[in-house]
Amino acid sequence: MTEAAVLSVQNASKSFASRKALDGVSLDVRKGEMIALIGPSGSGKSTLLRSISGLQTIDSGAGRIEAFGNAVQENGRISGKVRDTRIRVGFIFQQFNLVGRLSLFTNVALGSLGRIGFLRGLFGAWPQETRNAAMQALARVGVADYAAQRANTLSGGQQQRGAIARALVQKAKIILADEPVASLDPVSARKVMDILRDLNRVDGLTVVVTLHQVDYAMRYCDRVVALKAGKVVYDGPAAQLERKQLIDIYGPEFEDVFWEGAPK
């Protein structure tokens, strides 16, 4: 683990039956970076991100994942202290994963579960600090007006912004976003990416985001890591990602992964 690395993945492999979703992936993420994980579907992007949050185990063996210098998992086992890490790592899902029948406010307040008293959290007796933080976060992402509405009555873009607000209430230092815009229309997608970029620039949060749209990756992120068949095939500045490498990663139809025009 290098000096300023907040996340470190060492030699992680993951097999589903005979297929290798991750094949010896190593990756260091430094504090304050904004990284895009790209690659064709099935290349292992989501598996990698979910493993970093300990939502999924990697194969036993040499593989090891650390966050803030503490093990998240090693030798195929999730660390017993994974909750301490999760509190500081916000996770944004493609399907938002808000609890549909709860109000947007309650969903966002859930972000404080890791740091308020167990019983308070269990019964939803949110402290004033949580209430304020929740409304502040909702205002920051622009959906404070919908706080009282049930989450499942909101549009995809509004729900995804609510999910980001939940990570803010969590006071996460790292945000892992798994295809956060894949289920959204282009306008909502840009709004969500703008918010993530803003959290990275203004608040100094470290952001790792998997994306299908390579132009978004190049526009919003400084560093791009490309996976193909579970292996890292590119890791470098977004600006240096060129046509030739994209053909390597996605094949000759690589233009399909651009929403708003491919580089010539």
Binding site: R83, N97, L110, G114, G121
Partner: protein
């Protein structure tokens, strides 16, 4: 123009495989054979008696058309007792079923614990409430409390299984969403699982309250009090007019509860 393919090229229409045909034959043949064998023991030969002893039926029928409501205060009071038995029985059952339902769900509980819990619920469910009631009558004496316990245990097993199945069909996304905030396992259940199953659980509980108000009536047979007990008393003393009045009160009350709970359930889902 498309060519009409030669007859030999068109695949034959699918025919049912021989194995399935044999299975059907055995199944239906078996059912018919069982019905024939059971004809004697079930005394089905007595079927014509329904029409031959028409005198008894006529007397029964004519008194039934003149329900005797002189004791209506008592009838309403006893009906209310029966409903109260059902209310407490169902409520205790729900309290039992919530932990059982969570512990019996494969996606929440590790299998070494989930499996025995499921079998325990099967055991509770397989004992009829009349049998449990009889045991409690021995233990705590005649009266409504025995009825409450009978309903609570039997319904606890039924609701526990239904609750487990509801939990097993939830979407795991929101649960992961809560988990990713660093929530404790119990908090994951309260915030990620319960909100998803709450409407279904409530609906099942209300439905069981409906059927328990019917079951509580039958429990009167073993001396568990309520309107059931005076129903069987008046049946046994051939007081058919009184029986008719009691039946009408029961049907009216159960229908009312059905309508009420259906309205609530329709709003929940």
């Amino acid at each position: 123009m498309t060519q009409i393919p030669a007859l030999a090229e068109i695949p034959k229409p699918p025919s049912r495989p021989l194995g399935q045909q044999v299975f059907d034959l055995i199944l239906w043949g078996g059912i018919i054979a069982l019905l024939v064998i059971s004809f004697g023991p079930a005394e089905m030969a007595k079927l014509p008696l329904l029409f031959q002893n028409s005198d008894n039926m006529r007397q029964f029928g004519s008194e039934f058309t003149k329900p005797d409501f002189t004791e209506w205060r008592l009838l309403i009071a006893q009906m209310w007792v029966t409903i109260q038995i059902a209310l407490w029985g169902t409520s205790i059952a729900v309290l039992l079923a919530v932990p059982l339902g969570l512990l019996g769900a494969r996606n929440v509980t590790p299998s070494w614990l989930q499996w025995p819990i499921r079998r325990a619920m099967d055991a509770l469910r397989s004992v009829p409430d009349l049998v449990i009631g009889t045991i409690f009558v021995v233990a705590v004496g005649l009266g409504p409390f025995a009825g409450v316990m009978a309903l609570a245990l039997n319904t606890g097993g039924v609701l526990g299984k239904l609750f487990s199945e509801a939990v097993e069909s939830i979407d795991k996304g929101p649960v992961e969403g809560v988990r990713a905030t660093g929530a404790a396992p119990l908090q994951e259940i309260v915030w990620g699982v319960i909100p998803q199953v709450a409407p279904l659980w409530t609906s099942y509980a209300l439905y069981r309250f409906e059927s328990n108000s019917r079951a509580a009536t039958v429990l009167g047979l073993i001396g568990a009090g309520g309107i059931g007990q005076i129903l069987f008393d008046s049946l046994n003393s051939f007081a058919y007019s009184r029986t008719a009045a009691i039946s009408i009160v029961i049907v009216a009350a159960v229908t009312l509860i059905d309508l009420l709970s259906q309205t609530i359930r329709a709003r929940l889902l």
